[in-house]
């Protein structure tokens, strides 16, 4: 992002880069002359921004120690979050339980279809609402809630965790991986699978070896469904041998599917190629994305031929019970393509049933130098800047290779680097809508009893959580989030939040702007933004101080250009 002040700052960065190698190796972090600004910077990057009092707490503990603790989240007690998540009743249910209790029953589906036909092409909002109410009444005893409730709980939980967890870096990293291995709640039953996906696939592996994380996603029902691999089969497999085929289930659209208009989804479309005597065949979707998006990167050195060969290796990686019972990974050797393959120059030969082929592909990809570089680059972009310094990416990639893809080691290399801690890096990132909303909640010390309104605001800014359709996930760079519409939505949230006008959220603006500090914007800013206030912002805030309206001052601070950055 070519910003003038960043360019100017490049010089400072170059100086920081000139630190001798011996200094890099030493465990001592480079200390900024302005320690509080560094603390605010670190709270903004390894977490979702400071709460009132956070800077003093970290100062008392020592920044090095705080960072080290954040790198080992299992050592941090985190009782507050459990309390906050308590009311979200779908959060702890298994996929099968969610399907049984929150999916629209098939009979209701048919009725909805009939109702849709009856209402015609352009039913009014009232008609839709009335129809929805009618169905809810009728099926209430058979359903604990709607599919939308499940998605809503996921979204609320994400906001609450980010806002209240003491394990801030853990939340940042989980968000990073969920986005890296994106799945889309709007596709078929994926919405019921995401809870398990995040809980049992992403989070337990977020700090471990990248290869384990990659394999866990490859075998997850959420990913198998989202990128269609559960359907991929050897075209020459005999139809008669498809008796182990996945049970009939409704298919969603591709990753670019759209949101349903009614109670949830469209009715069951016949599962493709699964009728009697129907042959199935190869599907390239997952094979392409695992290389382009999950491992090598689009320029990582693979060809269309590699895509096809990888797709052949993954034939038979499917699941049981996608629509009822507990969906689970299952290797079906009957639909596996047993022929020889060559992937990125490696010859791959089936052993036993042939599951080894997909495993070998995962190993080849996870240990490929392009993967070390691509994953390190993305992490550095998240933590440091939109165009992270090449030397830092090189060192992170080296850590990745030497440690066998140890994620904790790579993250540590990045967040303890001089580039990361350099004053030039402060405020270099524009917050995403999710980061902005959560950081505003934290800055005001707000009490979120119900996060639904906040998740709706985030969605209106163009970032509906768990609902990014394309497999690329959300963008992590400034240009994606700087727009008139996005800015206006931020300003309005800033004003509404500070004035206590966001449903379910109570705010005491004087926590952010104490009366004693109302005429000293710099003192407030020092606790929130690491690079201080621009002259125009300071003047505006000073002139507002006379009005003695802490809510308006707080709103202006949250909406200021400085607070849009981290």
């Amino acid at each position: 992002m070519p910003l003038p002040h960043l360019r100017a700052a490049g010089l400072a960065l170059a100086v920081a880069l000139a630190v001798p190698a011996a200094a890099l190796a030493s465990k001592k972090l480079p200390v900024s002359p302005d320690p509080d600004a560094t603390i605010v910077h670190v709270l903004n990057r390894l977490g979702f921004g400071p709460r009132p009092g956070d800077v003093a707490k970290v100062r008392a503990m020592g920044l090095d120690k705080w960072i080290d603790q954040q790198l080992h989240p299992e050592r941090i007690a985190d009782p507050a979050v459990a309390t906050r998540l308590g009311p979200l009743r779908t959060l702890h249910l298994s996929t099968g339980e969610l399907i049984a209790r929150y999916e629209v029953p098939p009979q209701a589906r048919n009725e909805i279809q009939e109702k849709k036909a009856e209402l015609g092409n352009n039913p009014s909002e009232e008609q839709v609402r009335a129809a929805r109410r009618e169905f809810m009444q009728k099926y209430r005893d058979r359903m604990d809630g709607t599919p939308q409730d499940v998605v809503q709980d996921l979204q609320s939980a994400k906001v609450l965790r980010a806002a209240y967890s003491e394990r801030q870096l853990d939340e940042v990293l989980a968000d990073f991986w969920i986005n890296h291995f994106n799945v889309f709640a709007g596709k078929g039953p994926v919405k019921f699978m995401i809870g398990e996906y995040e809980r049992d696939v992403i989070r337990p592996h977020a700090w471990g070896k990248f290869e384990d994380l990659l394999r866990a996603t490859a075998e997850s029902p959420a990913m198998l469904f989202y990128l269609d691999n559960w359907l991929s089969a050897d075209p020459n497999a005999q139809p008669a041998e498809l008796r182990d085929r996945p049970p009939r289930g409704r298919l969603g659209r591709g990753p670019f599917g759209r949101r349903p208009w009614f109670m949830g989804d469209r009715p069951a479309a016949a599962p493709p190629g699964q009728g009697k005597g129907q042959k199935r065949g190869l599907n390239e979707n997952y094979a392409r994305e695992i290389m382009e998006l999950h491992t090598l990167g689009v320029d990582g050195g693979y060809t269309q031929k590699d895509v096809t060969e990888v797709a052949r290796c993954f034939t038979g990686w499917t699941m049981r019970n996608p629509r009822q019972g507990e969906p689970s990974f299952f290797f079906n050797d009957r639909i596996h393509d047993h022929g020889d393959k060559v992937v990125l120059g490696h010859r791959i030969v089936a052993k036993g049933g042939g599951k080894n082929e997909g495993d070998e592909v995962i190993h080849i990809l996870a240990t490929h130098p392009s993967t070390a570089r691509f994953v390190s680059y993305k992490l550095a972009r998240r933590f440091v800047s939109d165009e992270p310094p090449k030397a830092l990416v090189d060192r992170a990639a080296e850590t990745f290779r030497k440690s066998g893809g140890d994620i904790r080691a790579v993250v540590k290399t990045i967040v303890t680097s001089p580039e990361f801690l350099s004053p030039a890096t402060r405020s270099a990132k524009v917050k995403t809508p999710f980061e902005f909303v959560v950081s505003a909640v934290r800055a005001t010390g707000a009490d979120v009893g119900d996060a639904r309104a906040l998740t709706q605001r985030i969605a209106a800014m163009g970032m509906p959580l768990y609902q990014q359709q394309p497999p690329t996930g959300y963008k992590d760079t400034a240009e994606a989030w700087v727009s008139t519409s996005g800015l206006l939505a931020r300003l309005n949230l800033a004003l509404d939040l500070a004035a206590g006008r966001v449903r379910g959220v109570s705010v005491d603006a004087s926590r952010l702007v104490p009366a004693s500090a109302a005429s000293d914007p710099d003192a407030v800013a020092a606790q929130l933004v690491p690079s201080g206030l621009a002259e125009s912002t300071r003047k505006t805030l000073e002139s507002e101080a006379a009005a003695a309206d802490p809510a308006r001052v707080a709103g202006l601070i949250l909406g200021s250009p400085e607070f849009q950055r981290r």
Partner: protein, 415 residues
């Protein structure tokens, strides 16, 4: 409308009689001389739409053979089939609302069109189509933004370039001011555009001169003020213009509102997802059919809504690539190469399918699997930009590509 055209034509004639006005100047005069500005609306179908099942080559046997379960039957075969266009191509039956446009000559499909880059990555292909520089990732701005840059207009309104999306898309990002707007109704600041909070924010963003947010802030406040004055919300759809529910239909409706409110829109953008049908794509009915129904209904409603105003508007649809000529093992299609575009407008040479048809024989397919590209998307856009908008500096809009009228597909009527 008619009066102005006659006037311009006679003006042009006068110029010709002095022997100083090549046709291109005449067109430029027409494009610039009109009181109301010409406008371009771009609709991006994200996810790679299967052009072969949209503009269906039912006249080609290979088409049916390669798509045993998802091919659209030829017209008049006793059951529901393609809507015949010219005896070889037909529209997907779900696009029935567009048939009147074809008949009145305002709809021009272009086949076998796309970006020449070989990528089958959604992300890269969309990026290239929006930057307008296939193969070059370093391009900083989008071609629609460069178009605006290339024609400075001191009298431009804040709505000269507008995207009906919650974030600003790549195609419109760049130095020229552009407004992104999810919804006209929500485009206001709490407490009003003149309230104390608004003034405070305005001052802060005004002063943040070194920040990328500075320009966005200014554009936002200008747009709020301007919108308040012109109140486009009071322009309701013309009778019979029924937009489908959902963000896409709503966004085209709001583009029409802005155009009718005369707020100075020259380029407008919106997008529509849901085209990535790797499985269960369907044929006459199914997932693609449902998406096409919405897609076509919105375009037909837009045309009806604008009425005579369509004379000054061209709509171009685009998608990042097409899909495999053969269906895959899941009754869907995988990522391919060429696809289709619709061009819609009063000055469009509609009623015929444009673009050279490469055929679907095995040796005619791109890499043995996909429809080949015979029209570079920049040639179509080059024609629309120069002949409709009067753009002169196409090398600036599409750097590194020699846009040449000899390759124009011929979708625009000569002035």
């Amino acid at each position: 409308m008619l009066t102005r055209r006659i006037f311009l034509k006679s003006t042009g004639l006068a110029l010709v009689s002095f022997g100083v006005a090549p046709r291109v100047l005449l067109r430029t005069a027409y494009a610039q001389g009109s009181r109301r500005k010409k406008a371009l609306v771009v609709v991006f179908q994200r996810g790679a739409c299967d052009g072969l099942n949209v503009v269906v080559p039912f006249g080609e046997n290979a088409y049916r053979q390669m798509r045993p379960t998802i091919a659209i039957p030829a017209p008049g075969a006793g059951r529901e089939g393609a809507l015949d266009l010219d005896g070889f191509f037909g529209l997907h039956p779900a696009l029935e609302p567009l048939l009147p446009l074809w008949k009145e000559g305002t709809l021009a499909p272009v086949h076998a069109i796309g970006s020449p880059d070989a990528t089958r990555s959604h992300f890269d292909a969309q990026d290239f189509m929006e930057s307008g520089t296939p193969g070059l990732k370093a391009t900083e701005d989008g071609w629609l933004n460069r178009l605006v840059q290339s024609q400075p207009d001191p009298e431009a309104t804040p709505f000269r370039a507008v995207s009906m999306t919650p974030t600003l898309p790549r195609i419109l990002s760049g130095r020229a001011a552009a407004v992104a707007m999810a919804n006209i109704r929500d485009f206001d600041l709490r407490g009003g555009g003149n309230g104390p909070a608004a003034r405070g924010f305005e001052e802060m963003y005004e002063g943040a001169v070194h920040d990328v947010l500075h320009g966005t802030g200014q554009e936002t406040f200008e747009a709020i003020q301007f919108l308040k004055k012109s109140d486009p919300g009071r322009y309701q759809p013309a009778p019979g213009a029924e937009y489908p529910r959902g963000r896409y239909g709503e966004s085209l409706k709001q583009v029409a509102q802005l155009l009718k409110a005369d707020v100075g829109v020259e380029v407008a953008f919106t997008d529509v997802g849901g085209w990535d049908h790797h499985a269960a794509e369907g044929g006459v009915q199914g997932q693609l059919a449902a998406r096409l129904k919405e897609f076509g209904e919105a375009l037909a409603a837009f045309r009806r809504d604008l009425g005579d105003g369509m004379q000054d508007v061209v709509v171009v649809t685009m998608t990042e690539f097409g899909r495999t000529a053969r269906e895959n093992g899941n009754r869907g299609t995988d990522h391919g190469h060429a696809s289709f575009a619709f061009v819609l407008g009063g000055d469009v040479r509609g009623g015929r399918v444009h673009g050279r048809w490469p055929g679907l024989a095995p040796d005619r397919l791109y890499e043995g699997r996909d429809l080949a590209i015979t029209t570079d998307f920049r040639d179509l856009l080059g024609e629309v930009l120069s002949r409709h908008l009067g753009a002169r500096d196409l090398s600036r809009v599409f750097p590194g590509y020699a846009v040449s009228s000899s390759r124009f597909p011929g979708v625009m009527r000569a002035a």
